[in-house]
């Protein structure tokens, strides 16, 4: 799931243009973004609070299994990175 301060309309445009099928959640007041400690204060348009790029993998029990906090907004987790982590965790739990 993707989470940002974008409005529903903005997220619909983005996922339609990219053909994404996973959910886009709108956290307009950045409440969940704060809850997860990934707020980037005043970094948006007109000094608006936004999220810094971050990825959390949560398992079925609600436990966080993997966290990726980049130190450069140009460098994000790539889909293949996340899939590899998921594969490794699945294998580890199957043992």
């Amino acid at each position: 799931m993707a989470i940002s301060v974008d409005s529903n309309e903005e997220s619909r445009k983005l996922s339609a243009s990219q053909g994404y099928t996973f959910p886009f959640l709108s956290d307009a007041k950045a409440e969940v973004i704060r809850q997860y400690g990934v707020l980037h204060a005043h970094a948006g348009e007109n000094g608006r609070d936004i999220a810094r790029p971050a990825e959390f993998l949560v398992d079925a029990t609600g436990t966080i299994r993997w966290v990726n906090l980049t130190d450069d907004v140009r460098v994000r987790a790539r889909p293949e990175n996340a899939l590899r982590v998921i594969d490794e965790l699945t294998l580890a739990s199957a043992r």
Binding site: M1, A2, I3, S4, V5, D6, N8, E10, S11, R12, L14, S15, P23, F24, L25, S26, D27, E31, V32, I33, Q35, Y36, G37, V38, L39, H40, A41, A43, G44, E45, R48, I50, A51, R52, P53, A54, E55, F56, L57, V58, D59, A60, G62, T63, I64, R65, W66, V67, L69, T70, D71, D72, V73, R74, V75, R76, A77, R78, A82, I86
Partner: protein
């Protein structure tokens, strides 16, 4: 004798522009050329070499080549563009909070409910009842 146009200088400046704009409009879309902008840096090096050759000609053989003034101007402009690019990629995009308070692996993911793009509320706990897990991707957004 009419002195020759110093094409090296203009080629070097042109290549500097090409390098900067190709990153912004092309190479930024591919992680392999974005994360470490090696193509852009190679283009900058080639541009610097062209400018250096051009300057050497302008000052070493001023009777044959033009470009004593334009060479300095174009080189300074090119250096400024390269400097801005380096400032942007080495400083500006790394200016993000450390997020020391973010939950770590092994901790429980804070529960939340947020509307999806259709306005339907999605609760993490509800979603995990029917899925093996969830990947939460926080991103800056397009505002």
């Amino acid at each position: 004798m009419k002195r020759n146009w110093n094409a090296w200088l203009w080629a070097g400046f042109g290549l500097t522009l090409v390098a900067a704009f190709s990153y912004m409009f092309l190479f930024i879309w591919f992680p392999i050329t974005r994360d470490v902008p090696w193509v852009t840096l190679l283009l900058f090096i080639a541009a610097g070499w062209l400018l250096a050759v051009g300057l050497k000609r302008a000052y070493g053989q001023p009777e044959r080549y033009r470009g004593k003034v334009s060479g300095v101007v174009l080189s300074v402009l090119s250096l400024a563009i390269i400097g801005l690019f380096c400032y942007g990629t080495l400083v500006l995009t790394k200016d993000i909070p450390a997020s020391a308070d973010a939950p770590r692996a092994g901790q429980h993911a804070p529960e939340f409910t947020l509307p999806d793009a259709g306005g339907k509320p999605v609760a993490l706990s509800e979603l995990l009842k029917t899925h093996k897990g969830a990947l939460l991707i926080f991103y800056r957004g397009y505002w």
